[in-house]
Amino acid sequence: MRDDARDKERDVKRLPIAAAALLALLFPGADCSWGQSMDDLNLQVHGYATQGFIYSTNNNWNTTNSTDGSAAWMEAVVNVTAQPQPKLSIGVQARYFLLGTYGNQIKLDFAQGDYKVNEYFGFRVGKVKTPAGLLNETQDIDPAQLWILLPQSIYSVAGRDSNLAHLGGVVYGTLALGKSLGKVEYRAFGGERVIDTADGGLVRFTDQGFQMPTGLSGPVYGGRLDWKTPLSGLMVGASEESDNPSGNVTRGTFQGTVSGDPFSTSHVFARYERDKLMVAGEYRRGTTNDIIQLTGLPPVYAYIDQRSFYGMASYKISEKLSGGLYYSSSLDRKAAYTSARYQKDWALTGRYDFNPFLYAKFEEHFVDGTETGYSITDNAGGLKPNSRMTLLKIGVSF
């Protein structure tokens, strides 16, 4: 099975070349300027593509053969936005993503209509990004980030597809509180959350032999408040989200359902930016009690009380070079006392912008624990309690 996985990795390595060729065909003569613009509808096309490489010690990471070094990590994104009126915009964004044996298909990031009535109120509907946490809406935008990997304690790349967006809507606006109190930005959302059958967030089930053949889905709602304080550059915020996914589950020949209490997630965060310095921190708590009921068997209860946080800092060393550091921690207080109960990660990163369109990143992670990104399925010899990861990435955007 491991050789089949390697063959699949080799096969799919050809796909980013095809993706790049597709982009070139779609946008011939693209000169890496600010996208192509069609005046009638203010139609713009933008995109980016990245190629990553990962090497890890001890444990394979997220379906890759990273202990041997893996380049099965790439993405290509195309965004088409029209703004027929100043208050109205319509946008579609598609993504090809591959990580190890996960993905390797084109998915819709979002497809939405957005109408901004005024500074106090606007709304967007469709498949929309979920405004939960400091970085959820931007976690997948590699050209806009210093980091290759955001703190996995909160922004796991394995669960990104499911957490990134929901079907429904968002209402938003900004309320000025006066010079001495700053501004408050609010966003409220609701709709349906769909979790793919291969989502990394389901690893806690699949590692115990359960499969969700059709994934999970259910209602989601929540909100986020950002206070842009009177101190220039300082923002403090919080968000709350409630997901209640359910679906079918199998284990061997047994079939049943998974349901339970809503997965409640609370975030508190702050960010300070001044000149070349950025400092940020975030705390998240996620809790749920899942019930897996297989026909003919007693129910299986899966309790989660995950508490995570990170602190990060970055500095623009020169016009082209930036560096950063973060510490990330996650602990599932309901999990068994193994290395899968927790994860601590020190990360050091650097980014070099060759020009406005081409950049490269280098990142080193020192990971203790295997709670996120490490699966028994990918590590037949068993999980080791810690590992080190070296990541490289190159990206182009237009």
């Binding site: 936005t81 964004q93 500074e119 900004t174 082209k320 406005p356």
Partner: protein, 140 residues
């Protein structure tokens, strides 16, 4: 008579220094924009996508210049970011579905042409660039 060139020289030098200290970028707007001035905070908010309206509530549409000296000076004076940081900010907005990228034009003449014919448009050009048909906003 032979002494005159020195004071004249120093006078010209002082003038040159003063003109360098004075910003070489001006903010222009369509005549439909009722404001005659704009604060640095408003300017930064509009051109970073944090806001789409002036303090008087009127919606404005920013337009950008491509890379160059005027762009660099505008970013340095009013945004406080390098061009790559400025673009990263707009990419966050665009690729997260929170807004559209502002129109970007190749030349100051194109910016003036666009701003003069587009209600609510606001842009920036070099001080020496011709700007018939648009109004200049004083930055306070």
């Amino acid at each position: 008579m032979k002494r005159r060139p020195l004071p004249v020289f120093f006078g010209l030098l002082v003038l040159a220094v003063c003109s360098c200290a004075h910003a070489q970028v001006v903010i222009i707007a369509n005549s439909s924009v009722s404001a005659s001035s704009i604060s640095k905070t408003e300017l930064r908010d509009i051109f970073t996508g944090a806001s789409t309206s002036l303090s008087n509530g009127k919606q404005v549409t920013p337009v950008l210049l491509r890379q160059g000296g005027v762009q660099d000076e505008f970013l340095s004076l009013y945004i406080g970011k390098t061009d790559s940081g400025f673009r990263a900010g707009w990419r966050s907005i665009l690729f997260s579905g929170q807004g559209a990228m502002p129109k970007t034009l190749d030349s100051e003449a194109a910016v003036v042409e666009y701003v003069s014919h587009t209600a609510g448009a606001i842009g920036y050009i070099g001080r020496a660039a011709p700007h018939e048909g648009v109004k200049i906003l004083v930055v306070r």
